[in-house]
């Protein structure tokens, strides 16, 4: 699974996710990547989110939207909202995975409960950072 989240100069946020699903999956099995609110979500003024991991958990916990809701209704910063969903909800329920999340001010969070997650970002002045573990 791959994903991207972006914040442009107009202040608009966007998110996208694309996947081959899970290896050896059942014919017709669909995970969270094409499910808006589960694996992908973007709302101006709040955040953009893209997830990766065991899709069934991201769907059941409406993970991507839950991060936005925690920010909107509990005023959590993106870092805490993303961590709460990935560790306190998904991991606690046995769901493996991670997210990348970006708020409207350009704050970035990338929590994951697996051994690693391939992730990277670019800052406004063009600094690129890629991390795998």
């Amino acid at each position: 699974t791959v994903g991207a989240i972006a914040l442009d100069n107009a202040g608009d946020l966007a998110a996208g996710t694309s996947t081959g699903g899970r290896s050896n999956k059942m014919y017709g099995r669909v995970g969270d990547s094409p499910i808006i609110g589960a694996g992908t979500f973007a709302e101006n003024g709040v955040c953009a989110v893209s997830g990766t991991g065991e899709g069934e958990y991201f769907i059941r916990f409406v993970a991507a939207y839950d991060i936005a809701a925690l920010m909107k209704y509990k005023n959590l910063p993106v870092e805490s909202a993303a961590a709460e969903v990935v560790f306190d909800k998904l991991k606690a329920a046995g769901g493996e995975g991670g997210v990348i999340a970006l708020d409207a001010e350009g704050r970035f969070a990338a929590p994951y409960n697996t051994p690693g997650m391939y992730r990277g970002y670019v800052t406004r002045d063009g600094q690129i950072e890629v991390r795998l573990y």
Partner: protein, 181 residues
């Protein structure tokens, strides 16, 4: 703070499972994806365009489980899903269970921009994408040696499990068949 574009290439297994060659290839393609998206943002482009551009780079790379390099299903097929969402209008598009669309993320965007729907799946999504002029390919395009080896290993494990289960079951059945124990 001050991040304008971020990407992920999926969750990763134990660090030792990643060879130096693969790590180099993964890092290089992630950097290319970030550069493709940033080039759009830098010239005042839209976040939506940056997201699509970055994901297309990773779909075209054999290093990630999306597009070329996608994993195989139990039947040895490639079935892909994708979605995209823009924060200003909350517009969203998605495709699921597609097998011949070269860049599923672009099909998801076409669903968002050219239909009143959010999610199209299977043959319907593929017919729509073809009619809209999106690039389609023979499913063989998505095949990669690494993923093929991966699914072969899984099938071999399943076969061994089934055989050992058969042996156990047949032993159990024999046991039952011999009431004298």
């Amino acid at each position: 703070k001050d991040v304008v574009l971020a990407i992920h290439g999926g969750t990763a297994g134990p660090k030792e499972s990643l060879t130096p060659e693969r790590e180099k290839a993964v890092r290089a393609d992630m950097k290319r994806a970030l550069e493709a998206g940033y080039a759009i943002l830098e010239r005042d482009g839209k976040a939506l365009d940056a997201v699509e551009a970055a994901i297309r780079v990773m779909e075209d790379s054999p290093e990630f489980n999306a597009g070329k390099g996608a994993v195989f299903t139990h039947e040895g097929q490639v079935e892909m899903d994708a979605s995209i969402m823009e924060g200003n209008t909350r517009g969203a598009g998605a495709v699921a269970s597609v097998t011949v669309i070269k860049n599923p993320i672009s099909a998801a965007r076409a669903v968002m921009e050219r239909t009143k729907h959010v999610l199209l799946s299977g043959r319907g999504a593929e017919v729509f994408a073809t009619k809209e002029g999106l690039e389609t390919v023979d499913p063989a395009y998505f095949w990669t040696e690494r993923r093929w080896q991966q699914i072969q290993k899984v099938w071999e494990q399943e076969k061994q499990q089934a055989e050992s289960l058969d042996r156990k079951n047949s032993a159990a059945v024999d046991q039952e068949r011999e009431p004298w124990g």
